[in-house]
């Protein structure tokens, strides 16, 4: 009898674990089914080549490119902020900082990622944009520049924490060999430790990019809701995520073409982040084997 009980418990635990697979399957099914109906009415060629995205206007265009450039533009700005700062932090903490400082500062830095993104959106719109307007007079009230900068601040801990773990895992002997040859800490850091930890650092950057692409509230609040094909950071744009929010706030009929546009936009977003996450997972697996 007890054997059967143990078996039932094991199977029910297994079924809980299988729910995670069901979630993935559910996401893929929902996105593809709705996108499939979307492409029955809109040609897939237009979707990738039309340079306008105006599903909510009378003159309807369904080109994803403006949303895609909006997303990539804000992501690019965010990474340009987070990468140099995050990497410098990780190198400083692992190669220079005293242990006690490192121990206190790490949880504080993680706090940056714990702040809800709607709060960062407020920051970008109410504080950063007016501040930047003093220097850039033609900066629009909604723009990808402040949204990107603030998003960069938010993802600093993603870059710094993971990179620091990777740097810290580099064997001490490598550093000592470098010091023994008379190298300074800076030379050791950039010529020995960073190259040795490169795969871990790349993983942290990929995850940060993936996070920035999927970030919603900052861009929905501060970057605007005007899909346009531009690389100008001073004008309003719209990202994929902001478009989904815009449609969700309105009164859109279930099953209408407008309703399906958010799934078509969603699957584009999902494919991007899925590819990035898979690549980072692969690199991480390989890198783990290298050190163990």
């Amino acid at each position: 009898m007890p054997k059967i009980r143990e078996l039932i418990i094991e199977k029910s635990l297994l079924s809980s674990a299988l729910i995670t697979i069901a979630v993935t399957v559910g996401i893929i099914l929902v996105l593809t089914i709705e996108t499939f109906s979307f492409f029955k009415e809109v040609s897939i060629f237009d979707f990738f080549t039309d340079i306008e995205w105006t599903p909510l206007f009378t003159q309807k265009h369904y080109g994803i490119l403006p949303l895609l450039t909006g997303t990539l533009l804000t992501t690019f700005i965010a990474i340009s902020v987070a990468l140099p700062i995050g990497l410098s932090i990780s190198i400083y903490l692992s190669e220079y900082a005293p242990r006690s400082f490192r121990k206190t500062i790490k949880p504080l830095l993680e706090l940056l990622a714990a702040v809800p993104s709607v709060v960062y959106g407020f920051f970008a719109l109410v504080v950063v944009t007016p501040y930047l307007q003093q220097f850039i007079p033609n900066l629009s009230g909604f723009n990808s520049l402040s949204a990107g900068i603030v998003m960069g601040i938010m993802i600093i801990p993603f870059v710094s924490s993971l990179s620091e773990d990777a740097l810290f895992a580099v064997p001490k002997a490598l550093r000592e060999a470098s010091y023994g040859m008379g190298a300074t800490r800076l030379q050791t850091a950039f010529k020995v430790v960073v190259p040795a930890a490169s795969s871990g650092i790349i993983v942290s950057i990929i995850l940060a990019i993936s996070r920035a692409i999927g970030e919603t509230m900052i861009v929905a609040i501060a970057a605007g809701q005007q899909p346009r094909l531009t690389l100008d950071p001073t004008v309003p744009v719209e990202t994929i995520t902001a478009y989904i929010v815009q449609v969700s706030l309105g009164d859109v009929q279930h099953g209408s073409l407008e309703y399906r546009t958010i799934f078509a936009a969603g699957i584009t977003l999902f494919i991007f982040t899925f590819l990035l996450n898979t690549v980072s997972f692969r690199i991480r697996k390989k890198y783990r084997e290298k050190y163990e």
């Binding site: 007890p2 143990e6 635990l13 297994l14 809980s16 674990a17 299988l18 729910i19 995670t20 979630v23 559910g26 996401i27 929902v30 140099p84 700062i85 410098s88 932090i89 190198i91 400083y92 903490l93 900082a97 504080l108 830095l109 706090l111 940056l112 714990a114 702040v115 809800p116 709607v118 709060v119 959106g121 407020f122 920051f123 109410v126 504080v127 300074t184 800076l186 030379q187 850091a189 995850l207 692409i213 999927g214 970030e215 919603t216 929905a220 609040i221 995520t241 989904i244 929010v245 958010i262 799934f263 969603g266 977003l269 999902f270 982040t273 899925f274 996450n277 898979t278 980072s280 997972f281």
Partner: protein, 284 residues
Amino acid sequence: MNSIQKNRLKDQLFKFWGIACTLAGLVLLVIFIGGILVDGLSRIDWAFITDLPSRKAEKSGIWTPLMGSVWVLILTALISFPISVAAGVYLEEYAKKNRLSALLEINISNLAGVPSIIYGLLGLEVFVRIMHLGASVLAGALTLSLLILPIIIVATREAIKAVPNSIREASYALGASKWQTIWNQVLPASSGGILTGVILALSRAIGETAPLIVVGALAYVPFAPKGPLDQFSVLPIQIFNWISRPQQGFIDNAAAAIIILLFITFIMNGIAVYFRNKWQKKLQ
């Protein structure tokens, strides 16, 4: 200056640059929170918390979104906790090294990286439409539960991994079955770590805005929800709504509501850190 001195100078310069970078993010955060406190603190009083929403900024309160957040938080905890701890226990204690567990592992890692708004689309289609839950508290809580599932699973696995094997062996030696060992020894020993993960995941859930907007949570709800099938709003959505209005009065309201949201988030993070430290000491 010879090249050795030059290299030493560069080394020193990088040290200061590193300190500056480390402090930059924190200083910005402090400036920003300081600004919000200036804007919003004077707006917070008892009436701000207990008032219903209103068209007039100075009469608006956060009672309905606050209660919405509480409802969503409790339901999310009740739904996600048992499932994700069970999944974590399975992966650490039962799963053999085979294709299925490799698939589960890569899948969970991928789910953790799926943007939150995608979970909103899943919830909209499955919970709101197919299961006919409508834009209810339950639909929102189910959506957020799926969102934080990977976070709690990973935390549970880490916590269980930290339990020394000697405890398991001692239990088996006394004749306990596998499940008795897990239930009576492993889970109590890892509870601190699991609790930390759950609280951190819930503090993430309380700040989530996008998936709930997609599921259909409203910016304006006249009454606080009374049951799991009622319509709802949550604090971050109320903040988003107030930010989108042009009048200064609503911006102040947004700042005040942000103070309350941050207060809740930081308290939860603080409790999590406290539990983690206490638990880590106990393990050692």
